[in-house]
């Protein structure tokens, strides 16, 4: 049994690094398990339902179906961001390494879904509203959330020491959470005082029952998928630590 130098952080705390373990058999499956597979099946099922079993809306045409993937992506992004912010606060309060691991996982997943929102949004907006982008409060806030999440991940990547990495990113996450109301407020005020070109939005018809069910199914499927992605990413983080990479 060869002894390997185990890197220890300068101050003893929960980031104790366990010795590198021999190759864990079937390790990729540690990251993905049957629950994750269930989530994937759910998403595929939702998409099948959207594409094949949901009628096309009369006034907006096929593009309206983008909504079934755009809004659940936004909900998932918010879920991941809330998890990240809450876990960051817990980390700062309790210095619990599991909270930091969860925050890291949630941050990455949040970036994924925010990206999806920012791409599907304009693809829906162009045919429906006639423009790729408007600086309305919600879109602007989403763009801003993307920047902050990207900054969070870049910050994590730029700090070598695990404790400082956890502390710095937790501070950023908490400050970013404080920032959101200010962004929203200032953009909202900006919009009310600076009338933008009026974009013709077809009045949202109340969704007929068929579409409402599809919408709910899709939302649940994607939210579950988001949760499972965070869980798998968390396991990946565990795997990293066990492999001796801090």
């Amino acid at each position: 049994m060869t002894s390997t130098a185990v890197p220890t952080p300068p101050t003893g705390n929960s980031f104790r690094v366990p010795p590198p373990s021999p190759r864990l058999p079937g390790a990729p499956f540690l990251v993905f398990d049957w629950l994750f597979a269930l989530a994937v099946v759910g998403v595929i099922g939702a998409i099948v339902r959207i594409i094949f079993f949901t009628p096309i809306e009369a006034t907006q045409g096929a593009a309206q179906k983008i909504y079934y993937v755009h809004v659940p992506a936004a909900l998932s992004a918010y879920l991941a961001l809330i998890v990240c912010a809450v876990m960051s606060m817990i980390y700062l309060w309790l210095r619990e390494v599991r909270a930091d691991r969860m925050a890291e996982s949630a941050g990455e997943v949040a970036l994924l879904f925010t990206t999806a929102v920012l791409i599907t949004g304009p693809l829906w907006g162009k045919p429906i509203w006639g423009t790729w982008w408007t600086w309305d409060a919600r879109l602007t806030l989403t763009l801003f959330l993307w920047f902050v999440t990207a900054a969070y991940l870049v910050l994590r990547g730029a700090v070598d020491d695990p404790i400082m990495r956890a502390r710095y990113s937790a501070v950023l996450a908490v400050l970013a959470a404080l920032l959101i109301p200010f962004i929203h407020l200032s953009v909202y005020l900006f919009r009310t005082l600076h009338p933008m070109p009026i974009v013709l939005k077809p009045s949202e018809p109340s969704l007929p029952r068929e579409m409402l069910i599809t919408f709910s199914v899709s939302s649940i499927a994607f939210l579950f998928f988001c949760a499972m992605l965070m869980r798998s990413r968390y396991r990946l983080a565990l795997l990293r630590e066990r492999a001796g990479i801090v």
């Binding site: 864990l24 983008i66 599907t120």
Partner: protein, 38 residues
């Protein structure tokens, strides 16, 4: 301004992008896990 007659292009593009993004992320998780075990 009315909705263009055929909006299917946008519809397809949006779903392709979403599926590519999500699949890509899952693959990246798998790939990173694989590399950690080598």
């Amino acid at each position: 301004m009315s909705v263009p007659a055929d909006t299917r292009g946008y519809y397809h593009a949006a779903y392709v992008v979403a599926i590519v993004l999500y699949t890509g992320y899952v693959v990246s998780l798998w790939w990173r896990a694989r590399r950690l075990n080598q």
